[in-house]
Symmetry: C2
Subunit: 93 residues, 2 copies
């Protein structure tokens, strides 16, 4: 049975699954600003919508559109901001 998770009072939700090579999730981020922590290295791909991302190694935020990806190293904190619903795919190394 697939496992779904809700975060931030249901403003972010995800479904965990086994990707082709790595454990993965697909999820949705609703409008707002959210702070995530990584336990492992993650590659996040936006599959619908536009996400503003503040990465620890960047001075300014980046804008990530559908089918674009970014990488976050393990044990980092990063902020994302959505003006409208954003769907994403995330793989965990």
């Amino acid at each position: 049975m697939l496992k779904t998770n809700q975060y931030f009072d249901g403003k972010v939700a995800s479904i965990a699954f086994q990707g082709e090579k790595l454990p993965a999730t697909v999820g949705v981020i609703t409008p707002g600003k959210f702070t995530f922590d990584t336990k492992q290295k993650e590659v996040m791909t936006v599959v619908s919508g536009v996400l503003k991302v503040d990465l620890p190694q960047n001075d300014s935020s980046i804008t990530v559109k559908a089918f674009e990806s970014f990488t976050i190293e393990a044990n980092q904190t990063f902020d994302v901001e959505a003006d409208a619903d954003v769907a994403y795919l995330c793989t965990y190394e």
Copy 2:
């Protein structure tokens, strides 16, 4: 709060959201063969994995890989088959 749904005893799960232009879901299909019905025209995009799809207008099944899409008209029945977990994005017209 985001709405998650489970189908086929939790072998398929989805999260509903508002896409940029259309209502949408992201979801996961676990290994097996499943029959879906459409109420509206749907465009389904595989975002992880490989899905075999039997569409009503096709004599043989098609193989849909990550970032490839297919369209199903409203009020149709179609079969999908996954050998491993498949993540998808679906928009509803």
